[in-house]
Structure formats: C-alpha cells, structure tokens
C-alpha cells in the first residue's frame, strides 16, 4: 500500500463538559476526495481545525507522508501544503479580488503579478473571476471562488472544504464540482465536509462518518444509498419513544405558502412553507443549521414581515404584524441565539424579562416601566425554571449557556402562550437542564398550547414532538406523525435524499 497523504491516529480533544473528538483515526490518500460526514456537533469542525493548526489535540498524532505533522498555527499547516476554505468567508467588501487574496497570503507578490496569477488559476480551473472586481459586488459563489483561488495559489496538496455548497446555487455547485474533480486529477486531495448526502455520493470515493466525536464508520459512499449513509450518520441505536396520541384540538397556528427572500446574502430564502399546529400538539422541525431555521423563526416572530394572510394565529391573520402585536395575540417565540438575539448580553435579567414580557405581563403602565413588577417577573422565572444565578440584577452574559437558555425559554412559557415557537431549545445545555426544558415544552402543550420546536437534535424531536417535518434549503417537507417514524425515514427527510422517497414512504 502506498503511503497516505495524511494519517490521523487517535486524536482526542475534550472541552469542559464535552468531548469533541475521541480517538479519531483515519487516512486521506493522495488524489482522493474524502468526505467527512456527521450531524452538527459530531466533531467535524474540531477535527478539521486540528488539521489546519487552529486547535491542538489533547492526545493523538498526525502524519504527513509518513513524517510527523503537528501544526501549531495555520501558517505551518499552509507551509506543509494544507489549505482550507471556510464556511464563512473572510473577505473585505470594499477591496477588489486581488487585494483580498493578497491579504490572506503569508508573502504576497506585487499586486499586478498576483492579478495575473489569479487570472491564470481561474482559467486553469474553470473558475471565472476578474481580479479587479470589488468583492462587495460578487455573488456568494464568486466569493467562494476568491477563497478557493486564494488557497490554490499556495499550491496545496490537501484542500479542506467546510460545507462549501451551503451558499451556492445548483449551477455554482456544478462548477465547483468540476473544479474539485480537476484538482483530484492533478493528484491533490480534498477533505470535503457536508451534510448533503447526494453530493457526497456524487463526488467522494471515501467517507469517514463521525458521530458524537467518534469515527463510527468508513465506507465508499458510491456503494451506499443515501438511506444507508443517513443511518450511519444518525445511528440506528436511537429509537423513538412511545407516545400516546393526544386528541388534536383547534388549529392555533397556520402557515400557508410562506415564501420570503433571504434577508442577507448568507441567509436562506423560505420557499412555500406550509404548516398547521393544533392545540396540544408539538410539531418538530428538523434540519441541518442554515436551511432556513433562523429565517422561519424570524418570520413567525414578526421580525420579518409576510403577506398578511399567510400566517394565522387562531384564524387571525398576523403576517404584517410586528413582534409585540403577535405576542399580544398569543404567538411567542424563543430564538436560537441566546446572547444578542433572545437576550441582551449586558442587560440584567430584570431588563431581559422586560424584553418580551413587557405587555403580556403588564410590566409597563401606560408607557412607564414598572421595575418592581419586572423584577418580580424575572424572579419568578428564575424560581420556576431553576435558573442558577445570584439574582435578577445579574447581567445575562454572566450566566452559563444552559442557565440563560432556561431563563429565555422560561420567560416565554411563563407568559402562557397560545402558540410557542422555539429554535434549538436545548443547544449547548447540559442533560438535566435539557430534560427540564423538554418537559416544560410538553407540559405547555398538554395545557392546550400549540408548540413548534425547531431543532437539529433528532433525539429531542422524536422525544417531544407529535409530528415531524424536515426543513431543507428553505423548504419544509410534509409533516409525518412521530409514532411509527423510523430513524431511516427521518434521515432521508433530513439528508435531502429527495422528497420523492419520503412521499413514496408516506403513501
């Protein structure tokens, strides 16, 4: 057997409370496109950051063409021949392409020379790009080309790509794939991270699958079905808990044909979303982050406005209403980002209680704030949801993630919503707190509220939800009842293996 390009042996990296990578071993051969598969939080990012010298492992080692390889900084990794294209671009809008490329280089040549080389590389690899254009005018796909060309100018042996297609149009994906195949033909290797199973089957010849920080399987994805890959990714050991079907009540939240353009270049457009949630029902919406979760929550919360009749709460159209009018009508939301979105980091818990509770909890008289009532409201959230903090005067940023999450979810639940929408309710929360939050959500539904839980945690969704749909590239699949739903079906719905198969199973 020939010497592999990069061999990884027993890498372990632990953070307080979580093991990001545990005894990870695999090899990347010369001239192969190697897929790294796994759910969010499976440890993919930690692993590639280790390879790129951004993170130092606790134990384990790496070998580059049989020589020890332990980069302590990205420039060492680049000097060895590793280049990385990040999921989020680090480009300056106000500068042109060549200037941006020069900024990312350790030793940039004169700009005129560099522009010529950019032109050369861009024609060689079929990545059309004018070095003189301002980055601010480029599309997401073109921006990615800037990053890729920046990497290619270093003549790398191993190119790491983190979720490269998440911001691309299908046409741009085709161009990218042609480039990657050309790079492989030149003998370069690519480590390709994605959730998109179809892409991986089309592009990669080897796949390493991570689950909860461990390598659980290696395979040739071309020989597997999307269904089998999804199974390996989520693990078949998970079984849906038995649920007693509740009597469906009246429809409390109805969304019909909600389409919204992405508010920003990196956002996802919502496409014709339809959902119905009844009193007492919990609808689980699964999907990999960046498929429109934030946008869906913003549209339901009223941060993004929609045509008036598209969103209805108890048959009352609310699409054009702002967040506070929707709150008054009983539609409450808890966004994913705790610090900065659901809560203001430097404000006290009392002030943060006021943030959404002002009108419903009558913390405001006319227009004047009743600080005493606000403090009492904060204290009651702290007491009922076991928020560990010295008191309501503490700034939100001083709380641990789990405690703040309990506060944020508790703040909405305490306002007795008719409809509650939560995004990632237990993200980064310890097991006990997560269980408490899930229980509170189920109790809320039991009490007659309609609850929508958006989450990437499939276990969580299967545990709490009555019905399940998947959000994929801004589209929401048809809902399926959770009882009887298998992990394979869930995986297929999520992996975007095509709605056809799901529809086929449904009939």
């Amino acid at each position: 057997m020939t010497t592999p390009l990069l061999a990884i042996e027993g890498l372990t990296k632990a953070y307080p409370g979580v093991i990001a990578n545990e005894e990870v071993s695999f090899v990347i051969g010369e001239g192969e496109i190697h897929a790294l598969l796994g759910e969010n939080g499976a440890g993919k990012s930690t692993l590639v950051k280790t390879i790129y010298g951004l993170i130092r492992p606790d134990t384990g080692q790496m070998q580059w063409r049989a020589a020890p390889y332990a980069p302590t900084a990205p420039h060492e990794a680049r000097a060895t021949g590793v280049a990385m294209v990040f999921q989020h671009f680090s480009l300056f809008d106000a500068m042109d392409v060549a200037e941006n490329v020069a900024l990312g280089m350790d030793d940039p040549p004169p700009i005129r020379q560099l522009a010529a080389r950019i032109r050369q590389v861009s024609t060689d690899y079929g990545l059309p790009l004018d070095p003189g254009r301002l980055v601010g005018d480029l599309s997401a796909g073109e921006r990615q080309r800037v990053e890729i060309i920046r990497c290619l100018l270093q003549n790398p042996q191993l190119l790491i790509m983190d979720e490269p297609t998440s911001v691309l149009t299908p046409q741009e994906v085709d161009i990218l794939f042609q480039t990657l195949r050309k790079l492989r033909a030149e003998g370069r290797s690519i480590l390709y991270i994605s959730h998109k199973l179809d892409e991986i089957r089309a592009l990669c010849e080897t796949a390493t699958i991570l689950r909860r920080g461990k390598v659980v399987a290696s395979c040739d994805p071309r020989e597997k079905t999307s269904r089998q890959l999804a199974e390996m990714m989520v693990g078949t050991a998970l079984t849906a808990p038995q649920r007693v079907g509740r009597d469906p009540g009246a429809v409390l939240l109805q969304v019909d044909g909600l389409s919204l353009r992405a508010p920003s270049a990196f956002g996802t457009s919502l496409k014709d979303i339809a959902l119905t949630v009844r009193a007492g029902e919990i609808l689980g919406i699964g999907g990999v982050a960046g498929n429109g979760q934030d946008e869906l929550l913003a549209a339901l919360a009223g941060e993004l406005r929609a045509p008036h009749h598209v969103i209805r709460v108890q048959d009352q159209p609310v699409g054009r209403f702002g967040p506070n009018t929707r709150r008054a009508l009983g539609l409450l939301c808890a966004p994913e980002e705790r610090l900065g979105h659901a809560a203001a980091p430097d404000m006290s818990l009392t002030e943060n209680a006021l943030l959404t509770g002002a009108w419903r909890e009558k913390l405001v008289w006319q227009v004047f704030i009743d600080w005493k009532r606000a403090r009492n409201f904060a204290e009651s959230i702290i007491a009922r949801f076991d928020v560990r903090t010295p008191g309501p005067h503490v700034a939100a940023r001083a709380l641990s993630g789990g405690n703040l999450q309990k506060f944020v979810i508790g703040r909405e639940i305490m306002q007795r919503p008719q409809v509650l929408v939560v995004n990632q309710p237990t993200w980064g929360v310890d097991a006990a707190a997560a269980a408490a939050i899930r229980q509170a959500l189920m109790d809320l539904a039991q009490g007659g509220a309609a609850v929508v839980v958006i989450s990437q945690d499939l276990d969580e969704l299967l545990e709490v939800a009555d019905s399940f749909c998947a959000l994929n590239a801004g589209r929401l699949s048809a809902p399926r009842p959770v009882p009887g739903l298998t992990m394979e079906q869930v995986g297929l719905m999520l992996g975007g293996a095509g709605d056809m198969e799901v529809a086929h199973v449904a009939t």
């Binding site: 967040p323 900065g340 704030i369």
Partner: protein, 380 residues
C-alpha cells in the same frame, strides 16, 4: 506582564471612577503639555480649574459664566446621550445648534419693533409682518422656531440614513460646515442689522424685551436656557430609566438583533434619536442667540455642539452625570479663556486639553469591562 481579563459583567465602580481618573490624567498630561509650551503647569491647571470659582480677582465675573456655558452643553449633551445609547451617532449637534439659533433669530427679527419687518432671502422679500413687539406669544414662538430648526436639520441625516442607509456620523458632521456657511451668509446677508453700518451681524436681540432671554436671577448666569436644560435632564432621566422607549433605545444600542426581537423598528428609532438631539441642540442655539450671545454673528458658534459630545461621554450618557460633566467642561472653557488671557496659552492648547479628556475617558473605559491582571506569559 499585564493581561486583560474580561469581567463577567461591567463593573459599576469603574463606570463612575473612570471619569474621575480621566480628569486626573488629563490634568497631568495637560500639565506636561503646558510645561512644554513654557508655562508653569501648576499655575495653568490652577488657573483652569480653581481660579474661575475661587479666586477673588476673577470669581465674581466667572462664576455666573459657569451656568451660562454649562446650560447649552447640558441641553445638547442630554439629547446626544439618548442617541449614543441607541448607537446612533449624531456628531453634528453644532450644526443643529447653529440652525436652531438662525431660525429663532429669524423669527425674532421678523417682529423686531423698529425698522422694516421684512424677512429677506437673497434680496427678495420672503414675508412681511406688522411689527407687534409686545405680544406674549413671541418668546414661545421663538423657542418653537429654534427647536424646529434644530429638529429639521437633524432630519436630514435621519432621512438619508433610513432611506439610503447613509452614515449618520458623516452626514451630520458635514452638515455642520453647511450650517456654518448659512450662518455666515445670514450675518452678512439676510439677517444683517440694517442699522449696523454694513458690519456683519444681526440686530441686538437683548434690545427687544419680547424675545430676549435675560438672566432670571441677576448675577447667577441663570437664564431660561439653563432652566430648560435642567428640565431636559429630568426628561432625559425619565425617558431613559422609566420609559419603555428609553428601554428600547438602550436595547437597540447594546443588542440590535434583540431590539428587533423586542419589536423595535430601527428606522423609527433613528428618526426619534436624531430628532430629539437636534431639537435640544436647536433649543440651546435659540437660548444662546436670544440670551448671552444677543445676536447672530459670523462666529456665533463656539463649539458647544462638539464639546457636548465629550460632556455626554464624561457624564456616562447618564443625565445626572451629564450635569456634572457639563459644569466641569464649562469650567475648562472659562478657565481656558482665563489661562489664554492671563498666561498667554494658545487657544488650541485648551482644545487639545478638552480633547485629551475624551481620549483618556474612552481609553480608560476598558476598565469597566476588563480587569488588569499581572501574569506571566502563558506558554502557548
């Protein structure tokens, strides 16, 4: 070596200790500056901070000046602080102050008892009035004109920002220079005193009792503008600490996304914050032109609008702090003039001195969010 460590939450002690420390450091650095200029640093610092209040020679004249100077500073700074808390940076209060004064003066002069009661623009009569010098509503009308002038001048950056997403810092700042040109044009043109022998400058409004803004209590420097400044302080305090709008202002400044989640409409907030600060700056200009300044002149503005930025930050964007900071900055104005006069310090040295105060304050503000630890360099 020194290491910065982020505090879990901002230190309340340092939030109020940094202004005091900044004043001390400014005195030291300013003293060094004065020494380099060949002046006795102790005497200069004493001249700026002590003599205006306590020297027998100067106090009788300069003590009332304290309120005269502090009034507009406080009035403008309260408005600015509201915007700054929301992260909306009105740097052009100086321009709004000028336009407020111009509008107020235009209205007042239109009713001036003697001479023609025409208001002219480029030589053409815009409108004419029957002079009615003793109507009770003249002074309130002048106030409204001043407030409206400042408000509308601030609406230019507000509308450009909400409509076209321009930068309000640049637009409001550049409009100061436009306002200065308008001021110059008014003092040599359409507001010029027809009996002024061709000298630039308007009629003396203190000779027109119906619109004059004299000292309320003789010998204190207290005029209506100072009274309104204190009303504004109370208004600002209630708004920022008791009113839902004030909560939204602070939320928008600290966490814009959380503000949208709380239902704050960013565009409306921009209009409100720029509007209120422009309005108060316009009021300050109105009370100045009808009071201490007495008339429109080419050099009517003395930088209150810019100094008020320092006052707002020195006062921690808190209305009560702004009162203290306004008095302190007024002192540096008076003391600075005194030092210019007595010690021959260049006027630029005093401006540098005021600028240093803001510099030290902003630099030291780090201490409220970070603590400094002595630590050996950790092995990377």
């Amino acid at each position: 070596m020194l290491r910065l460590e982020r505090r879990p939450q901002p230190s309340r002690v340092w939030v109020w200790a940094t202004p005091v420390l900044a004043v001390c450091l400014t005195m030291i650095a300013g003293g060094i500056l004065f020494a380099i200029l060949g002046k006795d640093p102790v005497a200069a610092i004493r001249m700026i901070f002590w003599d205006p209040l306590f020297s027998q020679q100067f106090a009788a004249f300069s003590r009332p000046q304290l309120l005269v100077k502090a009034g507009p500073l406080i009035l403008i700074a309260v408005g600015l602080a509201i915007g700054f808390r929301a992260g909306i940076w009105n740097i052009g209060a100086e321009g709004q102050y000028i336009i407020g004064a111009l509008c107020a003066a235009a209205v007042a002069l239109a009713f001036f008892p003697s001479g023609p009661a025409d208001v002219r623009l480029f030589g053409t009569v815009l409108f004419s009035f029957d002079a009615a010098p003793s109507r009770w509503w003249l002074f309130p009308l002048t106030i409204v004109a001043g407030a409206a002038g400042g408000f509308l001048w601030a609406m230019i950056p507000a509308i450009l920002k909400t409509r076209f997403n321009t930068n309000e810092i640049l637009v409001s700042l550049l409009l100061v220079y436009v306002a200065e040109k308008l001021l110059a044009a008014a003092s040599v043109g359409w507001l010029r005193n027809p009996q002024g022998a061709g000298f630039p400058g308007s009629r003396n409004l203190s000779q027109f009792p119906a619109v004059a803004n004299p000292e309320i209590l003789p010998g204190t420097g207290m005029h209506w503008g100072v009274a309104i400044a204190f009303v504004a302080v109370i208004f600002g305090y209630v708004l920022l600490h008791r009113h839902m709008l004030g909560f939204h202002v602070q939320l928008a400044g600290q966490a814009p996304r959380a503000a949208r989640f709380a239902g704050v409409a960013p565009a409306r907030l921009v209009v409100f914050c720029l509007g209120i600060s422009g309005l108060l700056a316009g009021l300050a200009g109105m009370f100045e032109v009808t009071g201490p300044a007495r008339m429109i002149t080419i050099d009517f503005n003395v930088g209150y609008g810019f100094t008020a930025i320092i006052v707002a930050f020195l006062g921690r964007l808190h209305p009560v702090g702004i009162v203290l900071a306004g008095l302190l900055m007024a002192l540096t104005y008076i003391g600075g003039e005194l030092a210019q006069f007595m010690l021959g310090l260049p006027s630029a040295a005093i401006q540098v001195f005021q600028g240093m105060l803001l510099f030290f304050l902003l630099a030291l503000d780090m201490l409220s969010n970070y603590r400094i630890r002595l630590a050996y360099r950790e092995a990377a």
